[in-house]
Every structure is written in structure tokens, then in C-alpha cells.
């Protein structure tokens, strides 16, 4: 299969909407098929790679933090970076810099970087297609 480039725009904050999970699943599927992916994280999505996301226990579930094994978006994204490295694909994760500053989420996991709308346009122009998953 011919290698393609795909750009995805995410906009929802972590822990709030299944659109984010769907978007990350699309990234996972594209990487598995050998394609390169750029993600532009806009507005609340700029917190998806915030390094200080922390798991917690869940008394309602009756589980401590270890048992709960709370999924964190930063870990999902880190796993996507690892998958890309292992498969020889490129995953470029760009956080909107102004959105990052507004939210104070400038501590990124390794691999994520800061960027601007100009970077989104550059990625879109270099991609075969672009999908926007806007917040609703």
C-alpha cells in the first residue's frame, strides 16, 4: 500500500468526549497501515499531552489507583508515539501554543511540540487529507 500522509485536528479537552478517543483510534489505524500522521491539538485538546495528568483511585468502583489503572490521554498519545517509532512512521503532534498558554499545560510528554495555525496549514498542504473533529 502506498504510504500516505494524514492530518487530524482535535479540539475537545481530555476526559470529556468520545470524539477524542475516535480521533486517536484513527491515528492508531493510520499508523498501523504504515501512514504518517500529523495531529494539530487545538483549544482543549492542547491538554491531551499534558505531562502532569495523574491517575486516581475510584471509590465508587471500589478500586485503588493501581487496580483502577486509570487510562490517561497522555499515555495513549505516548503509546501512539511508540507505535510510530516501532513501525517506522512519523507522528507529529503539534499543540496550539496559545491554547497551551491559556491552560497552563506547557509540560508536554516527549514527542509533542508547540506550534501555530501556520503549522496546521503547512501540514494540511503536505497531507493527502485532513480531518477536523471540532468540539460541539
Amino acid at each position: 500500500m502506498e504510504k500516505k500522509k494524514f492530518t487530524l485536528v482535535l479540539m475537545d479537552a481530555p476526559f470529556e468526549n468520545a470524539r477524542t478517543v475516535s480521533g486517536l483510534r484513527l491515528v492508531d489505524a493510520a499508523l498501523r497501515k504504515g501512514h504518517d500522521v500529523t495531529v494539530f491539538a487545538y483549544e482543549g485538546a492542547a491538554a491531551l499531552t499534558f505531562a502532569r495528568q495523574t491517575p486516581h483511585a475510584n471509590a465508587v468502583h471500589g478500586r485503588d489507583a493501581a487496580q483502577e489503572d486509570h487510562p490517561l490521554p497522555r499515555e495513549w498519545v505516548a503509546a501512539l508515539f511508540a507505535a510510530a517509532r516501532a513501525g517506522g512512521q512519523t507522528l507529529d503532534w503539534i499543540n496550539c501554543g496559545l491554547c497551551v498558554d491559556e491552560r497552563g499545560v506547557g509540560e508536554f510528554i516527549e514527542g509533542a511540540r508547540r506550534g501555530s495555525p501556520a503549522d496546521l496549514w503547512k501540514a494540511a498542504e503536505a497531507s493527502d487529507n485532513t480531518l477536523v473533529l471540532g468540539a460541539k
Binding site: 483549544e43 495555525p117 496549514w121 498542504e125 477536523v132 468540539a135
Partner: protein, 128 residues
């Protein structure tokens, strides 16, 4: 070759008070500044962005007042001034009891039935 992208906006007043603008409109401005070839289609509740004379002043929490409220009609009008074609679904305008005369200048009406043709005239559709 630069591709032409139609940005479709139908979710209205999304974080407009916090950002003091509309994020899809804002990023369209920013990407236009970076050389992007973009058009905008306002449909659904977002047709309200094209209504002239909006006034979002007055928000206050205790002593903290908002001094730079969003000016969405002006932001949309400026887009048109930058050469970005701005379309509005006229059926959605009418369903909300609005008249063409309520809208800012420079907006291009398109019928709901004509949206498909408009999509076809662009290389990509970005649904914000």
C-alpha cells in the same frame, strides 16, 4: 498547488466569551495570514455569527469585568475583507426569523440544496 478548503461552522458561540472570538473563525484568520486558500460556510445556529450589531458587552464576575468581548460579526466581516469567501445557508437564516438585511455585508447566501455544489467546488471540507 494550493488547495482550496471550505471551513464549515455550525456550532455557535463555542467558547466565544473565554476566547473573545470564535476559534474556527480565528484559526481561519490565522491560516489566511499564512497563505491558506480558505472559504467559510456558516450554517445551522452559526448563521448568527453573520448578524450585524451583536453586543456581548456586560459580562462581569464580581469586580472582574470583560473589557474585550467578542465581536463575531466584525470578525466575520474582516474575513471577507481578507478575500475569504463567506457563505451562509439562507434556509437556516430564514428558519431563525432573520432577514438578509440583518446580516453583515459581503456574505454570500447559498440554499440548503446548493450546499452539495459548494462542497464540490472545494478540494477539502473541514467541519469545525
Amino acid at each position: 498547488m494550493t488547495r482550496k478548503v471550505l471551513c464549515v461552522i455550525d456550532t455557535a458561540y463555542r467558547c466565544t466569551l473565554e476566547e473573545q472570538d470564535e476559534p474556527a473563525i480565528w484559526i481561519t484568520h490565522a491560516m489566511r495570514g499564512a497563505g491558506a486558500d480558505l472559504a467559510v460556510l456558516l450554517r445551522g445556529n452559526a448563521v448568527s455569527y453573520a448578524v450585524k450589531g451583536q453586543d456581548a458587552r456586560g459580562l462581569a464576575f464580581g469586580a472582574r469585568t470583560q473589557t474585550q468581548p467578542p465581536q463575531l460579526d466584525a470578525d466575520v466581516e474582516k474575513l471577507a475583507g481578507k478575500g475569504v469567501e463567506v457563505y451562509v445557508v439562507e434556509d437556516d437564516v430564514a428558519e431563525r426569523g432573520l432577514e438578509r438585511s440583518d446580516l453583515i455585508a459581503g456574505i454570500k447566501p447559498v440554499s440548503r440544496a446548493g450546499v452539495g455544489r459548494l462542497y464540490g467546488a472545494h478540494d477539502q471540507i473541514w467541519h469545525w
